[in-house]
């Protein structure tokens, strides 16, 4: 079906009024009637907030202020785009390098300037057709039912359509999200047996990484970079793998090379800053955080930890006055947010400590404690880490150790988080043996889990529920424990009926996980089983 876009609502975003009218006249000639225009990024966000658009045509280069990528990030972050809306990024330069650097927030399509009526029409026809084909898949993805999404995708793949290569790639992405690594691996290998393709090789590297075959992952990513020195995602994964292998200096080098190729990635600059700071390269850290702060200024992804990181690195370079000034900006940029107060307090403590003012440092830590208690029982584990790091810097090793143990317990199976934790301890010059602690705490949590599962199998539901409930109260931030506690109760309710009280209890576990990790692949099964249970008493 073509011309499906005629009745849709369009938004044109360009800072150049002649360009806007030119695009509008193209759309008019395609019989589109509902066309709005925005002159810059803020204008675009304001209009997208008050009205849902079906198609957004946004120029990448929007003059001073937000660029097109930041508009897209903010729109996706604040859910201003529906699942079937289409965001097209218009670029003047070659789009190829951007495609690879905007992995997390990629537009539906790129369109390079100048384009004619015919090109725009063909592009819109194709995009709407694709959205229509993938309707079932998207629906399943919204409710995070990854297995249903894969089944729907398999049905499409079986018809051997023209866009088969795209569908296979999409399938691997969903398989990876659903932790179905072996299924993804089959496709990667099948694709590579036909021809060398970088996304498939990258995929194999990622599977190795997630399966903890770090050495093999390392070799795969290095090989990719050799084949294509501009493939910036390969650098990101290589750095992650190197950090996992405790090659922290090498990881910093890798990220350094990556920001040279693609300096606009906010997350990458922050990671580089964090790594450089913990490697004792405070000047490089300052450079990276300065860039991150300036990139974040117009971005929806701005976060108080960026200014805090900049202040810490300035202070490490003995620029304490500048550092304190930056700290003053944190609460200005994020008014009324306990998280911002927290970062302000911990960074202040670190700077005061560097200045030798231990009393002021201790006072700042008290404010930090207050701020973190306002963040609730699920206070981001990252805050706990930041706090531990600062306590270690202040020499209060008991408090630091307690915080680290609780952070490990809450995240015992989150490799990436634990890697960050090891790094933080190193950064703080903390002598505590993190790796032994991780191993011991992991064993404890795994044992509790296994005992719970064993008790369920034995039919001792109440014992299992009691055990897992206690554990979940002790580690409210542990997703696996919460999910297993929920599952134990669900199995019991499925067998013996449910009370409203029990259902509410399960919901609390589920809500915790939803808050911690809305994308968690295990959530869907638990939620749909819970939905089928109604109170009997």
């Amino acid at each position: 079906m073509t011309d499906e876009f005629i009745n849709k609502k369009f938004l044109i975003v360009d800072d150049f009024s002649d360009m806007r009218s030119a695009i509008r006249s193209i759309l008019r000639s395609l019989e589109v009637t509902q066309i709005d225009q925005a002159r810059d990024g803020n204008d675009a966000i304001a209009q997208m907030t008050s009205k849902r658009y079906d198609v957004v045509l946004c120029d990448y280069n929007l003059g001073p202020g937000k660029d097109g990528q930041q508009v897209l990030e903010e729109a996706r972050h604040h859910l201003l785009l529906n699942i079937d809306s289409i965001f097209i990024m218009i670029t003047a330069e070659n789009t190829r390098d951007m495609v690879m650097s905007a992995v997390e927030y990629a537009p539906d399509s790129y369109l390079s300037k100048p384009f004619t009526k015919e090109i725009l029409k063909r592009r819109l026809d194709k995009l709407f057709e694709r959205k229509a084909d993938l309707k079932k898949v998207s629906k399943a993805m919204i409710v995070k039912d990854y297995n249903a999404a894969i089944t729907a995708l398999d049905a499409l793949i079986a018809t051997n359509p023209k866009n088969l290569p795209d569908l296979l790639k999409l399938k691997t992405e969903i398989c990876m999200t659903a932790n179905r690594y072996d299924d993804a691996m089959v496709i990667f290998e099948q694709v590579l047996s036909e021809h060398e393709v970088s996304w498939a090789r990258l995929g194999i590297g990622k599977v190795f990484y997630w399966k903890k075959k770090h050495q093999q992952a390392l070799e795969m990513f290095q090989q990719l970079i050799e084949l294509d020195p501009n493939l910036v995602t390969a650098y990101d994964w290589l750095a992650k793998t190197q950090a996992e292998l405790k090659q922290f200096d090498a990881a910093e080098q890798t990220l350094h090379a990556a920001v040279k190729i693609s300096p606009r990635g906010l997350k990458r600059q922050q990671q580089l800053g964090d790594l450089a700071l913990s490697n004792g390269h405070s000047e490089q850290a300052e450079t990276a955080f300065t860039r991150a702060v300036s990139l974040a200024r117009n971005s929806a992804l701005n976060h108080p930890s960026l200014l805090a990181g900049l202040a810490r690195s300035k202070s490490s370079n003995n620029k304490h006055i500048e550092a304190l000034k930056i700290i003053g900006e944190i609460t200005k940029a994020f008014p009324n947010q306990p998280e911002a107060l927290f970062y302000k307090a911990t960074a202040t403590a670190a700077i005061k400590q560097n200045q030798g003012d231990t009393e002021a440092a201790a006072a700042a830590m008290e404010s930090a404690e207050q701020a973190i208690s306002q963040c609730g029982e699920l206070a981001n584990s990252k805050l706990g880490l930041e706090m531990a790091k600062t306590y270690a810097q202040l020499g209060d090793h008991d408090k630091a150790t307690a915080l680290i143990q609780s952070a490990i317990a809450n995240n015992h199976d989150d490799e990436e988080f634990l890697m960050g934790l090891v790094q933080v301890c190193r950064e703080a010059g903390f002598e505590y043996d993190t790796e032994t602690a991780i191993r011991e705490i992991q064993q404890g949590v795994v044992k509790t889990n296994n005992t719970g599962v064993y008790l369920i199998k034995q039919g001792k539901f109440d014992d299992a529920i009691h055990l897992l409930h206690e554990a979940a109260e002790e580690m409210p931030g542990n997703k696996t424990i919460n999910l297993n506690a929920a599952k134990a109760m669900i199995i019991k309710m499925e067998k013996f009926g449910a009370s409203m009280d029990d259902i509410l209890k399960v919901r609390r576990y589920v809500e915790r996980v939803q808050t911690l990790a809305p994308q968690d692949w295990r959530l869907h099964e638990v939620i749909s089983r819970l939905k089928n249970i109604s109170p009997t008493a």
């Binding site: 150049f16 002649d18 360009m19 030119a22 006249s25 193209i26 000639s29 280069n61 003047a92 330069e93 070659n94 789009t95 190829r96 495609v99 690879m100 300037k113 100048p114 384009f115 004619t116 009526k117 015919e118 090109i119 029409k121 063909r122 051997n160 023209k162 866009n163 088969l164 290569p165 694709v191 036909e194 021809h195 060398e196 393709v197 970088s198 996304w199 294509d228 020195p229 501009n230 493939l231």
Partner: protein
């Protein structure tokens, strides 16, 4: 300031201008009340504007090639679909020149290549063929000797012998630029470099070939992609 940044920013400006010219021309051509411009002249202007755009992309890519910054991002693409994209971009100009631009290939045929690079390359090649063709230009693709062969033919007078012979020698295109920096030669040089960016681990490398009278009477530009 880095030269590539200056280049990128200039290209951004020039492309904006070209875009506006193209759209203004489009409106002129389609406006029945317009008595100022001769539609044929306007169409020719459109054609030249698109060629200027292709030349600009080529310039940027040549600069990147010179700095070893240009890498082919190879993916599998359906050729029928890909050709439709290329035709959508060039149909209007060909029509204005009274040329019929068509494509033919198996609807399930796929090839491995960098779609952006090959698309740009075919735009230039079609622009070139448009100057020599009498009535038609034909795009086609087939798998031959384990290569995906994309052909662009016209029904004009064909390539001069000097050119077809020159290219039969391996990688001779690289020397073309030294002998003659005319537009056609620069285009061929560029095409051969882009083709050569397509490589496989088993040692096969992309290349271009020129011949005459393949299925149409005129020139036939061939792109061999491993």
């Amino acid at each position: 300031m880095d030269f590539s940044d200056v280049l990128a920013s200039s290209i951004h400006d020039i492309k904006n201008s070209l875009g506006l010219i193209l759209n203004a021309l489009n409106e002129l051509v389609n406006d029945s009340n317009n008595h100022i411009a001769n539609p044929r002249q306007a169409s020719l202007l459109q054609h030249e504007t698109q060629r200027a755009n292709s030349a600009l992309i080529q310039l940027l890519n040549l600069y990147k090639l010179g700095n070893a910054q240009l890498v082919a991002r190879i993916n599998e693409h359906n050729l029928d679909d890909f050709f439709e994209d290329v035709i959508a971009e060039n149909q209007a100009t060909c029509r204005a020149l009274n040329l019929e631009l068509t494509q033919t290939c198996d609807s399930h045929l796929t090839g491995y290549f960098d779609a952006d690079l090959i698309h740009g390359l075919l735009n230039s090649a079609i622009g070139n063929a448009g100057r020599y063709a009498n009535t038609k230009i034909l795009l086609s693709a087939a798998i031959e000797e384990r290569y995906c062969v994309i052909r662009l033919e016209d029904d004009g007078a064909g390539f001069p012998d000097a050119l077809t012979q020159c290219l039969s020698a391996e990688n001779a295109a690289h020397q073309l630029i030294a002998s003659d920096s005319s537009r056609t030669h620069l285009g061929l040089y560029f095409a051969s470099r882009i083709a050569a960016l397509h490589r496989t681990p088993d040692g096969r490398t992309g290349m271009i070939r020129l011949r005459n009278a393949y299925t149409l009477s005129g020139g036939c530009f061939e792109l061999w992609l491993p």
